[in-house]
């Protein structure tokens, strides 16, 4: 039991300043969350250009993306954007791929017992699983608008995010021998899951993407938009070599959804 409560000691000097900073952070967060939908409507990629008007490196990459992708959706930048974008993009994809939907539904149903055997408390897990399945069942109804509205209702959307976080954590723990090599700092895989995967609002890294895409066997292509020399936003596929059904755009600290041409 020594692993999830290292703890203690505040920094004695400057506590009041800390409070101010925290308050300021909260206000900024609230401003962001009020102004950006959890999942936005489709928009042209050229809408990104206004954000980088004096930035030739990014503008070149946007032009290249525009050739490969017809549009994008923005996700709220709240630290859950990878999970939320992934879920929405994949569920939308499944609406048009009935066979895969059936497989996924089976897999999702089975995941509950797998996670319980992984050590998650049954009654907390059940809540998330049940709500997750409600949203999964919407895919079968085939109404894109309804799925979109549901993803913008915090009560449903956040349950989906939590459940995917738990699936990710389960996968990391199941294959801890492999994943432990990718964890920075002096932490075990379990500690990493408690600190960086299971809590809401913690940002996702490669390791989260690899674990989730492997757990669900869903190919994800991430286009990285950064300051690198290349004239295109480099693509990385997870897990490597698998057919891609979810396309995401990464800009430092944030993921959005892409739709290929």
């Amino acid at each position: 039991m020594d692993n999830n409560h290292e703890t203690t000691a505040t920094k004695p000097e400057g506590l009041e300043q800390d409070e101010l900073i925290i308050q300021q952070h909260r206000e900024i967060e609230k401003e962001i969350s009020d102004s950006i939908l959890l999942i936005g409507q489709k928009e042209e990629l050229t809408s990104l250009e206004t954000e980088y008007i004096n930035d030739p490196v990014y503008l070149t990459k946007i032009q290249d993306l525009n050739k490969k992708y017809k549009c994008m959706r923005r996700a709220r930048p709240d630290g859950n954007c990878f999970f939320r974008s992934f879920a929405f993009a994949y569920f939308e994809y499944l609406m048009d791929h009935n066979e895969e939907y059936k497989h996924f539904k089976e897999r999702a149903l089975k995941s509950k017992d797998e996670l319980i055997s992984c050590g998650f408390t049954q009654f907390t897990l059940e809540d998330f699983h049940d709500t997750f399945m409600e949203v999964v069942n919407l895919i079968g109804e085939g109404q894109h608008e309804k799925l979109y509205d549901t993803f913008n209702m915090q009560g449903y959307s956040d349950y989906v995010v939590v459940y995917l976080r738990l699936i990710t954590s389960g996968q990391l723990q199941k294959d801890a021998e492999f994943y432990k090599h990718f964890i920075e700092g002096d932490r075990t895989v379990v500690e990493f899951c408690h600190q960086e995967v299971e809590p809401m609002f913690k940002e996702s890294d490669h390791i989260h993407i690899i674990a989730l895409s492997t757990a669900l066997n869903v190919g994800v292509r991430v286009r990285y938009m950064d300051r690198g020399e290349s004239s295109e936003a480099i693509a990385h596929d997870f897990p490597e070599g698998s057919p891609v059904c979810v396309h995401l755009l990464y800009r430092p600290g944030h993921y959005d959804i892409l739709y290929s041409r």
């Binding site: 290292e6 505040t10 956040d158």
Partner: protein
């Protein structure tokens, strides 16, 4: 269950589970919790064989409307606040799962177990080094404190 918010439903489930399988030495005040689902008091006995053997403590849990997405506010209350390097004399507890590392998959039960474990592993009864300064300057709500967690193996 019609009309209950997801947060209320969840708290009900947690209350039932806490009564059915209480963590060792802990008893939740059920009547109080049923009257106001957002504030629970848990009576706690210091575990045998630890520095707190024979002592009685009270823990208070306050739940916001976003629970379990937001962590509960957990403090020691009452006459006897355990003397421990992570517990301030005003009852505030420095425990990472109560702020940064909270996850909706945790529960009242798991918080209780962490607190038991925190007390049980204590080797010397003393207050945090910055206690007198902290209790003068802190916010009433411990979640508003920016805690500096560091693993000092206490």
């Amino acid at each position: 269950m019609a009309g209950k918010t997801p947060s209320e439903k969840r708290l009900h489930k947690e209350l039932i589970s806490l009564v059915k399988e209480p963590p060792p030495g802990m008893v939740v005040d059920v009547d109080q919790a049923e009257q106001n689902l957002n504030v629970w008091t848990i009576n706690m006995q210091g575990a045998e064989g630890t520095l707190y053997d024979g002592e009685q403590f009270q823990l208070q849990f306050k739940f916001g409307t976003s629970y379990p997405f937001e962590s509960p506010e957990v403090t020691f209350v009452g006459q006897n606040i355990p003397v421990h390097p992570h517990v301030y004399s005003n009852g505030h507890i420095c425990l990472s799962i109560l702020t940064d590392d909270w996850s909706p998959a945790l529960s009242v039960q798991s918080v209780c177990l962490s607190i038991i474990s925190m007390l049980s592993s204590c080797k010397e009864k003393k207050r945090p080094p910055d206690n007198s300064f902290y209790i003068k300057t802190c916010n009433k709500n411990p979640k508003k404190t920016k805690w500096w967690y560091h693993d000092d193996k206490v």
